[in-house]
Amino acid sequence: MSSNVITIQGLEVQEKPWVDTLHEWVTTVDHKRLGILYIVYALVFLLFGGIEAIVIRIQLMHSHNNFVSPQVFNRMFTMHGTTMIFFVAMPILFGFANYLVPLMIGARDMAFPRLNAFSFWLSALGGFLLYFSVVGANGLYGAGDAPDVGWWAYAPLTARAFSPGHSTDYWTLALLVSGFGSIGTAINIIATVLCLRCPGMKLSRMPLLVWLNLVMAGMVLIAITPLSAAQIMLLIDRYLGGHFFDAQAGGSAVLWMHFFWIFGHPEVYVLIIPCFAFMSEIIPVFSRKPIFGYPVMVAATVCIGFVSLSVWAHHMFTVGMNSYANSFFTITTMAVGVPTGIKIFNWIGTMWGGRIQFRTPMLFCIGFLFQFLIAGLTGIMMAAAPFDWQLSLSYFVVAHFHYVIVGGILFALFAAFYYWYPKITGRMLSERLGKWHFWLFLIGFHLTFDVMHIPGLLGMPRRIYTYEPGRGWDTLNLIVSIGAFIQAIAILVFVWNLISSYFNGAKAGNDPWDAWTLEWSTSSPPPAYNFATVPVVASRRPLWDLKHPEDPDNLYE
């Protein structure tokens, strides 16, 4: 199935003037290039968001610290949260989806290549707007520069009475614009998966990564819409004298919370489901076994997709809903743990009886499994509404969702980087640097986020720029900060690995991991048209069938 190839790799073409290369990248509609653009763009923002996190952690190293002013601290956590969710996690996952989905279903591009490019540039504009606030909002009249309303921007703090100037407007517009980009990408993924699969690839034969990205895209369509609506309502409040969220004039602050969280909770699954997808591709390859319980994995994902649309108000247990509402959101939230648990069991089932190879991608997958288990269990604790009345808005919840986002999503992303980097660049990432990266990050992660649970239990609220001595929080916060610095070093090792391996890494070849899905049948990096001849598949693991003609999968599926 491998093909004769014309390599189109911007940086390798020496003769072309750099302006032409730049022009090619800016005007590209190739799903692989757009995928790379998404990923590089997100990595740049990862560094911004990481610097903000470090500032936060320096400020909180001990009580009554004066490293930054309260105003700057509030901007830091607002920008950190907004950046990491909207301009790191989402684009990087869209990048991988863009790159991998067409390759894995044997397609030559996404369904709507121009929409694809448009979506990327919209998202890029959103990130630019958010950071332009540092310059722009300050240059205009009014107070403050970067947004400082927290990443949920609860009403009425966002009203003009409490947030004069334009920083909140930059926040709103950034999310609105990048939201439209996300919707475009979601439509594109759905259309691609439903319409462009190669011959023989029935829905029941799609790789799990494709299935899970399909569910993710469906959830983006549902979840981003209320967020965009809320942003427009907020703009109406701020500029046209509306009162949607203006409690003094009969509006409702709680309305904003509902709008935000009916986006915000599905959003968590929008981010974690593609990571489940990475797990479901990488664990089988390094366990040398097919995924355990494929149909159940698909069903569990679809189930998570639906149930997660009915859990949003568990972010609002403290806002004074009645006992029936609190009970309802308790049971839906706990229920979402069932399909999630099924997934963890199926990954263990995949490893069970396998021959596990501890290459760097697999190390990150194993880290993911342990950490996602803990994150899920602390999630169950907070699903119990009364327990949440103590834990919510404290550092416990901060530790919990960083366990999901860093311990889960980021570990899965690192696994994906080490696994698909050879396909994307044609070079292997260094295993030696990879192991340094893994162990440093693992140690830093656990120092920071394991310990971070405890100040929450001792009554430390989130989003405070300083705290009183004598509460038992000082030592714990110092440990948390030290862990953050170790993580920062690990990230630098990773970035160095990405750069140095691009020039000096071992040649990857088409199929370095002896894997089974279609992207490994074409060259590394794949040619612009992906496949010289459109592949035909007869099972979920077409390359297994090729490598083992005596024992093909379609006999058993």
């Binding site: 494929y294 308790t330 648990g341 119990a384």
Partner: protein, 334 residues
């Protein structure tokens, strides 16, 4: 792993020797105690799940790692098992049902608790960045330091709070007495507490409310019935009229102070800032940001940003003599 063990250990042992006054695991009131009991139950169940799944994971990683003997051939290709899938679907569902029933019981017990006749009623109003406490039945208005009577189980005198906000969202959280409840404008909330012992209980605003969210601290003084009655009597008095501080009072009443602050029985009747009628009965100023000493009062009047940058109290720009006079006046407001 570390996280869970740390959660299960009594957190006090991990804290500084001075011991935290705000641990959720040292409940001193029925709502906090019910939550504590539920949390122990939930922690036990999740702890068992953790141990089981953790063991399975560690076992499969060690047992099924590739080695030189088997690396060159593929293992048996197993695609799944419906029986096993059924098992790990049904068991978690049963666990969820049990957890839900236990939780729903506590939700109902705390949220739907009836208000007994002897309850003390307090209206707590969140402001950017301080707390206003009004006792409608007792005719008391105070700030930042809540006084409540201790509640004897045989003769309960719980305190029921009606939670309001004058501006943005806030959240009332005294971890040892009850879970937190938000104060949201145009959305009255309710919570209650029946403290078991007298003493000082600490907490702070838990919902981000603006620049000085961090220094919006809370103190609850749980008093014996006698002390509470004495405190109530003291607070019900009009402000002390002390002729020796007339200069300070005149400065106070002829500057912008009275736009925001009330001193009962005088022309000062502002509502934007804390009521100062009995300022000296409080141990802290600026919502707990500083101790209530003459030096701190002086600093606070001259330059609030020195104590609490971003607070809404303006620097009064008074002459030294006037500041001294105003501080002397404040010192008489017992």
């Amino acid at each position: 792993m570390f996280a869970l063990s740390s959660v299960l250990l009594p957190p006090r042992s991990l804290a500084e020797p001075s011991h935290s006054l705000t641990s959720i695991f040292s409940p001193e009131s029925t709502p906090a105690k019910s939550i504590f009991d539920l949390s122990i139950f939930v922690l036990s169940i999740t702890g068992i799940i953790f141990v089981v799944v953790f063991t399975l994971l560690v076992y499969s990683i060690f047992k099924f790692r590739a080695n030189y003997a088997n690396a060159d051939r593929e293992p048996a290709q197993v695609y799944g098992s419906n029986q096993i899938e059924m098992a790990w679907t049904i068991i978690p569902i049963l666990i969820v049902v049990v957890l839900f029933l236990a939780t729903a019981r506590v939700i109902h017990a705390i949220q739907d608790a009836p208000e007994p006749a002897g309850a003390v009623q307090v209206t707590a109003i969140g402001h950017q960045y301080w707390w206003e406490f009004r006792y409608p039945k007792l005719g008391i208005v105070t700030a930042n330091e809540l006084h409540v009577p201790v509640s004897d189980p045989s003769h309960p005198t719980p305190t029921f709070l009606r939670l309001l906000s004058a501006d943005t969202d806030h959240s009332f959280w005294i971890p040892e007495l009850a879970g937190k409840t938000d104060l949201i404008p145009n959305h009255p909330n309710r919570m209650w507490m029946d403290p078991y012992h007298t003493g000082i209980f600490l907490g702070q605003c838990a919902q981000y409310c603006g620049t000085q969210h961090a220094k919006m601290l809370l103190r609850v003084s749980v008093d014996s019935p006698q002390d509470f009655a004495a405190w109530v009597r003291g607070q019900q008095q009009l402000a002390v009229q002390d002729p020796s501080v007339m200069t300070g009072r005149q400065v106070f009443e002829h500057t912008a102070c009275i736009n925001c602050h009330t001193v009962s029985g005088t022309p000062a009747d502002g509502r934007f800032g804390p009521d100062l009628t009995h300022l000296m009965s409080r141990t802290t100023i600026a919502a707990g940001a500083a101790e209530n000493t003459p030096e701190n009062l002086r600093l606070w009047i001259q330059n609030p940003d020195g104590i609490k940058p971003g607070s809404l109290m303006p620097a009064m720009k008074l002459s030294d003599a006037d500041v001294d006079a105003v501080v002397n006046y404040m010192k008489t407001l017992r």
